[in-house]
Assembly symmetry: C2
């Protein structure tokens, strides 16, 4: 096991009716920015519950945070916070709203151009406003980590930053508030969480028995509970298991003390930045093809994954590896997420385009061994045609 | 899944050489109480590493915290902290030293008789000195939770308290510092951690898929890695897996949103208080017998445990349940922990004695259904003869 430091200070309030817990989390004299996306939280009653919990506190609202939150959507909220001396941010929505809120929290006390926070991956963040979240879409894990992904459509960019300053102080996870989500968003959430675990697990053995088994646990839960919650949106238990699995997929536990990959996300972000394809769908396109390309260096873990996650115990090693990759592709397809570019009407030049963009960023070797060169990434994307 | 609040703010520094991290954790102007047990940390070099990391800080030392830390051993340290205006406590040792440190941290600013903290299970604790720990014995999970168990031999008592105020701010877990432990203490640690998971897992189904699989993960790791680390004390990887498994057994994750039992611990504490038997050994005596007595109300989870932890998939339900309980007993025996009173030379009256003590405490029904009466507990203990 590699050395690690693990620290996740977020307080989780999980279950029915937990939005009321906000009343005890945010100081009574706080000036609060309420950040939200579209109007769905008004339609499903979440907004009313949040306002009731906030009571007499001063609340400023900023709406319109979109999927893949845009830098230019968030900047006016930073200005609002400064003008109104806002001292708490409450994000109500999915991972995009939460990620956007993290940038706002870091940007308000930040001296320079906030885009620098993305350019230096959070290294220049020294403080941030305290953040609370009410998560309405299980997917990104943003409710219990210090990471944020921000897009900037004006310059076709999608970058991320990480800082211990932007861990939410608390997060409310009420699975009942997610039951009204469109099926496509639930499927995307399942696919995103699945890939988060794979990126931290499917590398090479590191004698990390607990982390491996926790990773396999979350994967098996997503495989079992994902289709259940898609089939019956009123199954609270299945949805609750999905919500908690998505949090545990990226709260730091699975990845503590082990090598990590993240090449699928790095490549996927470029595809979203260029073509606007849903984040989870870009992962579904890249992942099976990438696993095939890396099947030699990932061999030992692919065999373990085949056996423990998919129950594949017969056949030659090559057959078991191929079987695990095929099951991975089939899982995404089974929840309604196509795994080939053909389904998305993206031009063939996406492969060289992405490779060139990564090379231009200096990312000439990604993945756990740094062996995914722009040339190999182009081949992976051509293989996903 | 039941509603839950999960909050574990402890920062974990895991791995070789991590004692040096203390230098960045405790303020440079802190007045530190260093709490320790016997001299083993001087023999194995841990003490020297700690003193080097503490550098120029003012350090007062209090030695002699014994297994099952005694209230009367700790009181002088409380006085020392008050006299010297100590504002940080650093516990260096196993769970007993850590538990003792938690009582000291809570007692220093406490207005009344500190024994009251145990009598009201921590409810009266409003604040505590900040605590850091260097864990040298994987077992209790005290390094990452807010619980503490304190004995008071003068009145043959053993009680616990729980408070969010006494979560360690940080804990250093360097598996290498545990390699010199006597085999008996390592075995006790494995057995203790195993029972912690069982108490939170082996109750009745609550649609908590992640928690169940995390529990089964920790149990399987203890079963696989425990014997490995006992067989070869120089196997760093096996020891590291044991250390992290023991922490994850009682850091709140396995037990979030699920029913819990804790009857085995409640009964075991009485046996230690009366007869001084090692904590883990009392659990090994009680657990198999208690599972047999509760096999009807625990039936569904016993069948799940049989299959997922022990791989028992054939036979009638009764046979599988019996098989899982037999494997549990055999596991304790296999790591050198006898599971029957006969091995401990305890008089037969232990059964009614324990039952009477629990009744006197008003504990007339314990376990997840509150159905373990003093009469049934006496029968369980007679069955463990």
């Amino acid at each position: 096991m590699d050395n690690f430091t693990f620290h996740n200070p977020t307080r989780i309030h999980f279950g029915r009716g937990q939005i009321a817990a906000i009343a005890n989390e945010i100081p009574a004299d706080a000036k609060v920015l309420l950040l939200a996306g579209g109007g769905s939280i008004k339609a499903n009653g979440v907004y009313d519950q949040v306002i009731a919990a906030l009571g007499e506190r001063t609340v400023h609202e900023h709406w319109g945070v979109e999927a893949n939150p845009d830098f230019d959507t968030l900047l006016p909220a930073v200005e609002l916070c400064r003008q109104e001396s806002v001292d708490w941010v409450l994000a109500v929505g999915g991972g995009s709203v939460l990620d956007g809120a993290k940038l706002i929290c870091a940007a308000v006390p930040y001296a320079g151009d906030p885009w620098q926070i993305l350019l230096d991956n959070g290294a220049s963040v020294k403080s941030a406003l305290p953040l609370g979240t009410v998560l309405t879409l299980p997917a990104t894990g943003s409710e219990a980590n210090g990471a944020s992904v921000i897009s900037r459509r004006a310059i076709k960019e999608k970058l991320h930053f990480i800082s211990p300053s932007v861990y939410p102080v608390f997060s409310v996870l009420d699975p009942a508030t997610t039951l009204s989500l469109p099926e496509r968003q639930v499927a995307n959430g399942i696919g995103d969480a699945f890939c988060h675990v794979i990126e931290q697990y499917l590398t090479y053995p590191a004698h990390a028995a607990v982390q491996d088994q926790f990773a396999e646990s979350v994967l098996r839960v997503l495989i079992a509970e994902g289709p259940k919650t898609l089939a019956d949106r009123n199954d609270y238990d299945a949805r609750a298991n999905l919500v908690w699995a998505a949090t545990c997929a990226l709260n730091g536990l699975v990845g503590a003390g082990v090598p990590q990959d993240w090449a699928t996300h790095t490549i996927g972000h470029e595809i979203t930045a260029l073509h606007g394809i849903d984040h989870a769908r870009t992962l579904a396109i890249v992942l099976p093809s990438l696993l095939s390309a890396q099947k030699d260096t990932k061999r030992a873990k692919l065999l373990q994954y085949a056996e423990r996650v998919w129950g594949i115990t017969t056949g030659t090693e090559d057959e078991r590896v191929a079987g695990a990759i095929a099951q991975t592709r089939e899982f995404y397809e089974s929840i309604g997420i196509p795994t080939r570019f053909a389904a998305y009407e993206v031009a063939a030049e996406v492969a060289p385009q992405v490779a060139q963009r990564l090379a231009a960023r200096g990312l000439t070797g990604i993945g756990e061994h740094g062996d995914l060169t722009p040339e190999r990434i182009e081949a992976i994307l051509r293989d996903a045609a």
